[in-house]
Symmetry: C2
Subunit: 432 residues, 2 copies
C-alpha cells in the first residue's frame, strides 16, 4: 500500500530542500556565535565561498537558479520551538545551560542574512557580508548546499538500480572502514562531515551506522540536528574565524601577534572543561607554541588541523612536557582529512601517551571512490571552504601550517609572515 | 509520515509468508503439469527433499514448527483470477494459448497436497506422496521455503545497519557481475534462481537489476510471478522428472532405454519451437546421443545440465553435425551452477558457432560471498533438491553425467547403468 497523502506531499514541494533546519549546522558555529554576540556584537564580517579544486567548474555543473532556490529556502528557516528547547535544556560536554536564556531568545528571531551570488568563469562567487553574528551562520548551510547540488547533478538521469548500487557500494565501503575501526579498543571518534557531505540523508546513514558499529567509541557528531535526532553528543569547539577576525581588527603588529591568545581568553570566559581546545594553526602552530603564555597549557587539549598529525602531536606533547604538564591527561583532536588508515596510524602512534580523539569528516560522509563505475570523478569530494575574508572592512588572513591552505591578500600574508615567522610551515596537497 | 494502516497490517500477520502465490514457481512446472495431466493423470509420484550438503544440519538451524507453518501457508494458496487470466491470455515463447482452457479451469481448483515431515539426525525428511499432478507442484515452493527459512535464521538478531550493509554488499557484488556481463554483446541470459534464492524479495531485486543493467540481453525469468509482475518472458521447458517417471513406469529394460525419447514424443505433441529443448543427461548424455533417433536433431536445442559445459556442448555440436544439421541454427542452454566466469568462458568458446543461452541460478540469486563479515558460511547456498523418488510405487532413478548428482536405490542405479552404460560420466563437486 502506498501512503497517498505522503506521496502527494512529496510531489507538492517546489524544490527538494537540502537544508531543512537551522540546526543542520556544526555545533561550533553555535558556540562561537554566542561568544561573538557577547564580545563582538557590532563587528561586520564577510565570508566567501572558495573552491580550492579549481579544476571542477562548479557553475558548469550546478544551475545558478537552483543554487539560489536552495539558498533562498535556507533563508526562510527559523529555529523552531522544539529546537530551542533542546538547545536550552540539553547538556553539552556534560554542562547544563551551555547557552544563556538571552541567547536562546535571540536565536528565536534569527534568520540567515542575504547573500551575493554571481558566476565568473565557471565558478560561483558567493559572498555573505554584514554583521558577524549573522554572516558566520552561512558557512555550514552554504557548503553542504553546494556539495549536495553537485552530487545531485552527478546522479541525475541514472537508472533506479544503478543508483541503488552506487549507494550499496558506498555503504559496503563505509562498513568495511567501521569494521577496521572497531578493532581499535580505545578509539574516540566523532563525525565532522557536515560541510563536505554527499547529502544530508547519506550523512545520517553514516552517523547511524557508526552508532551501531562502534557503540560508545563513537562519541557524537558535529551536526546539531543529527545529534538531537539520534540522541548523540554534539561535538565541536571553535574555528579559525575567531583569531582571523580578531587579528584583522587589531591596530598594530603587536595586537595581531597577541590575537590568538586573546581569542582563548575570551573563549574561557564563556566555556570550560572539554571545550577548552586550542586550534593552534591559524598563523602557524610553531609560532603559536613559541609565544603562548603558560596558562594555555592548562587547557584540555589541542586540535592540530593543518600540520602532519604525528609531527604536530609530538610538538604539542613536547610543549606540554616543557611546561610541566602530563600529556596523558591531555587531549589531541585530529580532524584534517582523516581516513581509516591515518586514524589507525595516529591512534597507534599516540596510544597510551596522550588522549586522542578523531573528527572524521569528508572521508566519512563523502567517500564514493569506486562506487560509480561510469561516473568518473563526478562524485569525488572537492576542497570547498567558506572563509572569513574581511572584518570591519579590513582583510582577514590565515597562514595555516600548510601554505596551500593560506588565505588573504598577498601583501597581508607577507605582513603576517613577518609577525609570526615561517617556522614549521610545510606544503602538502589539499585533497578535501 | 508513517502509513499507520500499512504498519498495522504488517504487524497483524501470523507469520511472514515466504511463498505468497502459486505462480511463485518455475515456469517449467506449469508446462510439465499440463502434459502430466493430459498424458499421465493417474500416475502417483513421490518427491522428497534431499540436502546434498550434509554438513549443514538444516533441522538444527530451522525450527520444524516454522517450516510447517510455511508449508501449511503454501497449502492455503490458490491461483487467483488475475493469475489465471494472465496464464490464459499471455503469449509464451511467442505462442498464444499455450495453456488449454480446460487446464486453466483445472488450475482454478488446484491446491498443494499434504506433506509428510519429520526430523531425523539434524535433517528434515520432507516427502510429498500422491498424484503426480499434485506432488510435482511442491518442488519449487518447498525449496525456496527451506532456503529462505535458513537465510532468516542466519540473519536473526543482526543490527539494522549490519543487515543494511549485508544487502548493500550483495547488491554491489551482483552489479559488478552485471557490468562484466554487459560487455558480452550477444549474451542471452535468464534467471533460473527461484529454487535456491536467498529470499523472494532478493530474487526480485536481482531480476529487476538485470532488467535495467542488461536490457534486451536479459530475456526473462523462470519465476512465473516475477515474469508477470515485471513484464518479462517466463522461461523454462522441462525437467528430469519426466524421463525418471517414465523410466520408473517401464516394464522392462528396453522400455527404460526408450523412456527418454518417449518423453520427447509426448512433449512435442504439446509444445513446439523454442520449447523443444532436450534435457539429455537424466541417464547420461553420451548414452542419450548414442541411441537418439534422428528426429531429435530437429529439436531447437539442448540443455546440458550436469556435464562440464564446454565438453557437453562440443559433443552435442558434433552430434548435430553428424546428423546433418547446422549448429548455428541450434541452441545450447547452460544452466548448471553458472556464474559470471563460466558464462564468459562458455559464451566466448561457442560464440558464432551455435546460439547459446544461459540460465543463471544460485550464483545469481544467492551469492552472499564476502557479504557477511561475522556470519561464517551461514548464508552460503547449499545443494538442496526435491527429486522424484518413486512412481506408482516403483523406484525412480537418475544417473546424470555427474555421479555425485545420481539418485535412486543402489541396485536400481546399477541396473540403469547396465542399460545406459557409464560412458562420459565424470565426478565433479556439486556446490549448488
Amino acid at each position: 500500500m502506498t501512503d497517498i497523502a505522503t506521496r502527494m506531499w512529496n510531489h507538492g514541494w517546489r524544490l527538494d530542500p537540502i537544508v531543512r533546519s537551522l540546526l543542520d549546522t556544526d555545533f561550533y558555529k553555535l558556540l562561537m556565535l554566542q561568544m561573538i554576540r557577547n564580545a563582538h556584537p557590532t563587528v561586520d564580517a564577510t565570508f566567501t565561498l572558495i573552491n580550492r579544486t579549481r579544476s571542477v567548474r562548479l557553475a558548469d555543473i550546478i544551475d545558478e537558479g537552483e543554487l539560489r532556490a536552495q539558498l533562498d529556502h535556507a533563508r526562510t528557516l527559523r529555529f523552531d520551538k522544539r529546537e530551542l528547547i533542546w538547545l536550552a535544556g540539553n547538556s553539552f560536554y556534560g554542562e547544563a545551560r551551555m547557552f544563556a536564556p538571552d541567547f536562546i531568545a535571540w536565536l528565536a528571531e534569527f534568520r540567515l542574512p542575504d547573500y551575493e551570488l554571481r558566476t565568473v568563469d565557471g565558478q560561483f562567487e558567493l559572498r555573505f557580508a554584514g554583521p558577524w553574528t549573522h554572516t558566520t551562520m552561512w558557512e555550514v548551510p552554504a557548503l553542504p548546499i553546494v556539495n549536495e547540488l553537485r552530487s545531485r547533478a552527478a546522479l541525475k538521469g541514472r537508472g533506479r538500480f544503478e543508483l541503488d548500487v552506487i549507494y550499496a557500494r558506498a555503504k559496503a565501503r563505509l562498513w568495511d572502514k567501521v569494521e577496521r575501526l572497531a578493532a581499535l579498543p580505545d578509539l574516540v571518534l566523532s563525525d565532522f562531515g557536515t560541510r563536505r557531505r554527499h547529502g544530508f540523508l547519506w550523512q545520517r546513514w553514516c552517523v547511524e551506522a557508526l552508532q551501531e558499529g562502534l557503540g560508545e567509541r563513537f562519541i557524537g557528531t558535529s551536526n546539531v540536528l543529527l545529534a538531537m535526532d539520534a540522541g548523540l553528543e554534539a561535538i565541536g569547539t571553535n574555528a579559525h574565524e575567531l583569531p582571523m577576525v580578531l587579528a584583522a581588527l587589531a591596530d598594530d603588529d603587536a595586537a595581531i601577534a597577541s590575537a590568538p591568545y586573546r581569542v582563548l581568553e575570551e573563549w574561557q570566559r564563556h566555556y570550560r572543561g572539554n571545550l577548552l581546545v586550542v586550534l593552534p594553526d591559524a598563523f602557524g602552530t610553531a609560532a603559536f607554541l613559541r609565544d603562548a603564555p603558560d596558562w594555555v597549557a592548562d587547557w584540555t587539549g589541542f586540535r592540530p588541523d593543518s600540520a602532519p598529525p604525528i609531527a604536530a602531536g609530538e610538538a604539542i606533547i613536547d610543549w606540554w612536557t616543557a611546561h610541566g604538564r602530563d600529556p596523558r591527561e591531555k587531549l589531541l583532536i585530529f580532524s584534517d582529512g582523516m581516513d581509516v588508515e591515518s586514524i589507525e596510524r595516529v591512534y597507534r602512534h599516540f596510544h597510551g601517551r596522550v588522549r586522542t580523539s578523531f573528527g572524521w569528516g569528508t572521508n566519512l560522509t563523502n567517500d564514493f571512490r569506486g562506487c560509480d563505475s561510469g561516473g568518473g570523478d563526478a562524485l569525488a569530494p572537492i576542497s570547498l571552504v567558506a572563509k572569513v575574508v574581511a572584518a570591519n572592512g579590513r582583510p582577514a588572513v590565515k597562514l595555516s601550517d600548510n601554505p596551500a591552505k593560506a588565505s588573504g591578500p598577498p601583501d597581508e600574508i607577507a605582513r603576517y609572515l613577518r609577525i609570526f615567522g615561517h617556522e614549521g610551515r610545510e606544503d602538502a596537497t589539499v585533497r578535501v
